[in-house]
């Protein structure tokens, strides 16, 4: 069975703790993305799975076997590196063939395998070139080809698309996804690009400071972020996070004071249990519904800067006491800079985070 399991994995570098008590289980055929800002420990976690780093504590279990003490070459895994790490002295063909030597197959079978992945990744025209003489996109495909040519326990990808331009990135995202779907292996992809994670992953693990803050499906992390960090990290434009005073609940609405302005917002029923005090309200830019000026239960603001984004318009607005708001509206709604806005929200789209940054939710 192709599975990966991390149990309480911790990694110290001197006095610095890069990875703190990470628990993660990837089942066969599942693609999990480790997503987070640079320095959050996601690459270290990947290298621990690969055996390139030793965990200071905890267990790495691959295909049901504890692998802590095994070297990378004994783990039977395939990895794609951020900078591709192609073998400079070998031709593309030999690069792809390199991992096959461990399987001890005859030359004929090896050649067939190479031909198969070369066809799959459109590398046939460059098979006899050296890595320095092919394009960036081709290098990336060679790296993928080298990983999928074998039949390993699992796949690891370290920032696989970060070096490609936007257009190529889109193509490769689809290509990698389709290659992985056909292989049904446990796969871990490290990325700092949320779009990459949202589109390629079955589940996303969002990391910060060596800790996994939330593991859930792409929809879940977007719709129901469990912490303030996840809420602010996922989604573009960024979620609006307003510091507010919580004054209790009235029916389905919570009463808050934002910038000295009392407002009622539709909230999750769990908010009832929350004690009065300082909270953070999170509202996605697309969750605002512009209303007529002065409507009840709305946040007031003034449009400052208008950025047309094609189908939608991004409005940078400011509340009377100076908090910034990002609001995205359909392009049909015409707003001019300086216009007064009155913004209503939807219960499903209003997130309340308690004083410790945890989401208050049923």
């Amino acid at each position: 069975m192709s599975t990966i399991e991390l149990r309480g994995v911790t990694k110290h570098f001197g006095g610095f703790t890069a990875v703190k008590n990470v628990n993660l289980a990837v089942s066969a055929g599942e693609v999990v993305c480790l997503l987070g800002p640079s320095g959050c420990g996601k690459t270290t976690t990947l290298r621990i799975i690969a055996g390139l780093e030793r965990a200071s504590a905890g267990d790495v279990v691959i295909a049901g076997k504890r692998m802590n003490d095994l070297r990378p070459d004994q783990r039977d895994i395939a990895m794609v590196f951020q900078f591709y790490a192609l073998y400079p002295a070998l031709t593309v063909r030999d690069n792809i063939m390199f991992p096959l030597h461990v399987e001890g197959l005859d030359a004929q079978t090896n050649a067939e395998r190479v031909a198969r992945v070369a066809r799959m990744l459109q590398l046939e025209p460059v098979l006899d070139r050296l890595p320095n003489h092919i394009s960036e996109g081709e290098k990336q495909r060679v790296a993928v080809a080298r990983a999928v040519v074998r039949d390993p326990n699992c796949f690891l990808f370290d920032e696989p698309l970060s070096r490609l331009d936007v257009e190529l990135r889109q193509t490769m995202r689809g290509q990698i996804k389709s290659v992985l779907t056909g292989l049904s292996k446990a796969t871990v992809i490290v990325t700092h690009d949320q779009l990459e994670a949202l589109t390629m992953a079955d589940r996303i693990a969002i990391m910060r400071d060596g800790v996994i803050e939330q593991i859930a499906s792409p929809h879940e992390v977007f719709a129901r972020p469990t912490t303030l960090f996840v809420a602010s990290f996922i989604g573009t434009p960024q979620m609006n996070l307003l510091t507010a005073q919580f004054d209790g609940v009235e029916g389905t609405h919570g009463r808050f004071t934002v910038d000295g302005q009392p407002i009622r917002l539709a909230v999750d029923p769990a908010v009832k249990r929350l004690a009065k005090g300082q909270v953070t309200i999170g509202i996605r830019p697309r969750a605002f519904i512009p209303e007529g000026a002065g409507s009840a239960d709305t946040i007031a603001g003034r449009a400052e800067l208008i950025e047309p984004m094609g189908a939608e318009t991004l409005i940078h607005a400011r509340t009377p006491l100076g908090s910034d708001l990002r609001v995205v509206v359909p392009r049909e709604i015409k707003v001019k800079s300086g216009d007064a806005l009155s913004l209503r929200t939807d219960a499903r789209e209003t997130h309340v985070f308690d004083g410790s940054g945890k989401a208050v939710r049923t």
Binding site: D73, M79, F83, A85, L86, Y87, P88, A89, F98
Partner: protein
């Protein structure tokens, strides 16, 4: 890119848009003139000729008779003779005396054998040591590297007495083993430092990738790392070879009759009852130059990358 180099018409003008690295690669294109332009090429030719002149003069002298070699003013045009070359290997030591074998065939063999073996040994040991220092650093790694370098800081003349005594006591004096070991030790610091700088430049990711792809450390070294440092090996070999090939002082004191090298034998050819035979010396010198030129020429494509390594950032 390689195809373009070959197809570029001879003397084609340099392209200003071309990135620097490419132009450097093109600088060595088949046409020779290529991107440098005629002005620079002529300038470089003149400088090269000035440097080459002593060598040219040696070769010219090798073909001169005793009288021609000493002629004042110096002769550029004369009837060449191969007499000197023949006399390198066998000649009469006094006028009218018997023609004897000079032993130079053996001395040339000694020079080739001793230099070749010691350079190869230094390269093999030095490369492995450099890989170790680069990839598996010890506590106090830099201290060890510095200590290795200090062995080259003293001038040879300072250490010759202790080494001479060591060779006497151990019975290594006059043996191939002794002189080869000494030259190997001579070349090692350079080989280690040079090769370490090459290994340091390699991407560690590439080695990690090879490990993940199922390679042992040994396979990583031979299949992945070594092919990437061929330029370094070539440069190290040529430098080591030149150093060893020309070495005189230690060879003079520590080699025996059977293990004498060409520089020592050459010095002993100076003198004799009719004065210095410049033609003969020049003939020995000419023959002596051939192996170094051949090796340098054979490795020149790697050498350029080797000696410019680190000075040009890719």
């Amino acid at each position: 890119m390689t195809d373009m180099t070959v197809n570029a018409p001879a003397g084609s003008a340099p392209s200003a848009r071309m990135p620097l690295t490419r132009r450097l690669r093109f600088g060595r294109s088949a046409s020779g003139v290529g991107d440098a332009g005629w002005g620079r090429t002529i300038g470089a030719t003149i400088v090269s000729l000035i440097y080459f002149f002593p060598v040219f003069w040696i070769i010219l002298t090798a073909f001169k008779t005793y009288e021609d070699a000493l002629a004042v003013p110096a002769k550029f045009f004369f009837t060449p003779t191969l007499e000197n070359f023949a006399q390198v290997f066998s000649r009469a030591y006094s006028a009218g005396g018997p023609v004897q074998n000079t032993g130079f065939a053996l001395y040339f063999f000694n020079s080739l054998f001793i230099s070749g073996v010691s350079v190869l040994l230094a390269l093999a040991i030095g490369t492995l040591a450099a890989f170790g220092f680069s990839r598996y650093p010890l506590k106090g790694n830099d201290t060890y590297l510095f200590m290795i370098l200090t062995t080259r800081m003293l001038p040879a003349i300072v250490v010759i007495i202790p080494i001479f005594i060591m060779f006497r006591v151990t019975g290594l004096a006059g043996t191939y083993l002794g002189i080869i070991a000494l030259y190997t030790v001579f070349n090692l610091p350079f080989a280690i430092w040079m090769m370490k700088s090459f290994f340091d430049e390699l991407s560690p990711d590439v080695e990690d990738a090879a490990r993940i792809d199922g390679s042992s450390d040994v396979r990583v070294f031979f299949k992945i790392c070594l092919p990437q440092v061929l330029a370094g090996l070539a440069a190290t070999a040529v430098f080591g070879l030149i150093l060893t090939w020309n070495e005189f002082l230690f060879a003079l004191l520590l080699s025996g009759v059977e293990t004498r090298t060409v520089p020592v034998a050459m010095s002993q050819t100076i003198g004799g009852d009719i004065g210095v035979r410049w033609g003969l010396l020049a003939a020995i010198e000419t023959l002596f130059l051939i192996p170094v030129i051949v090796v340098t020429f054979a490795l020149q494509s790697q050498l350029l990358r080797g000696v410019t390594f680190g000075t040009i950032k890719r």
